[in-house]
Subunit: 209 residues, 2 copies
């Protein structure tokens, strides 16, 4: 089980490949200023709608950063009997870091196959828009939409075993989406909420009956 | 001018008060794993709608992290003739870090006054929902909605001068919002896009005529 979390230790980290803190010094309108930020990869995010069964295809996974933000750390340890791994489980759209060469659409296609098991054509990806993290990283998230059918499901999905990914593919029925968006008991990122609202404003009329 | 940026230097940063990297070690279903994350403050974000003139009240500001993500750094310097400060200007909702004691609604009230100059009653804040950063920090953003009138505008806003804030208060007419949400030329965070979509689904009918 992906939420079977044990033996947790937390240590300061100074040599991360993923979180590289920088300090920027600058003059703004003549006034000296500084700001701490970090360099992270951009990402691509895909809203996947299965038209055969009118369900959204999403991923459920353990997110260490969410878990760490919701628990108490004592002397570098976390008591998993008090703070079970389920606290770190999130619902998200299929997504990937832009850390490889190739087009962003090609990356999106690959993530959809690896994480969710659907084989989509690059031409079928519809670009929705892009957004930025503004406070700490400035990283760009580009959002796509794609419709899939049951016939396009060619693999189980679940992420790459060799990279240790333990991803559960989740199907959320269209009719449950509105409640899901507002439900604060399930940790989820704002791009997911925006994507669902975008679907309602732009696509739902084709699929509700 | 807030986008008059000069003399920019970028240095590695190991002692940030704002970005504190940690490495978490854990066993997931018996398999050893690690993840790098950072501790940041939670935040409160407020969608402000001025009903007198049917405009959204937003903030425009220079965001060093966005600027740094959009430019080239050469030997720790950024050439501002090639990369003007305008690249780092973002449009955002009024927001603040949860770094003080007191209720989150009280903090929201204070940020609305400091950044936008409106004096709102805590009881008028409507909680929309909350979202989390899932990848790097796990931090919680709680989203509120509040309606204001011109009579509630008691100060210029613009942020705290003593904290060096240079914030421009922006009014976005309701009718321009749909175009704005999708416009990729303006850097903005996903919570802003979600909040506007939420408004359309839940509040617009009271204000469109």
């Amino acid at each position: 089980m992906a939420d079977n979390i044990a033996d947790v230790r937390v240590l300061p980290c100074t040599d991360s490949k993923y979180i590289r803190p920088f300090r920027i010094h600058y003059k703004q309108d003549g006034i000296d200023k500084t700001w701490d930020y970090m360099k992270v990869y951009n990402s691509v995010i895909i809203l996947i709608f299965n038209v055969t069964r009118k369900v959204f295809i999403m991923v459920k996974q353990f997110r260490p950063a969410v878990y760490a933000a919701r628990v108490e750390v004592e002397n570098g340890r976390i008591d998993t009997t008090k703070f079970p791994g389920s606290l770190g489980m999130t619902f998200e759209l299929c997504a990937g870091l832009v850390d490889k060469s190739g087009s962003i659409e090609q990356l999106a296609k690959q993530e959809i196959l690896e994480e969710c098991g659907y084989d989509v054509k690059v031409e079928c990806l519809e670009r929705i828009t892009s957004t930025r993290n503004v406070g700490t990283s400035g990283s760009l998230q580009t959002l796509y939409y794609v419709e899939v059918t049951d016939e396009m499901k060619v693999a189980a999905g679940g992420g790459l075993t060799e990279e240790g990914e333990m991803i559960e593919v989740i199907e959320l029925p269209l009719k449950d989406t509105k409640h899901f968006i507002m439900d604060e008991s399930i940790p989820k990122p704002p791009n997911l909420q925006f994507a669902f609202m975008w679907f309602y404003a732009n696509k739902a009329k084709n699929h509700e009956n």
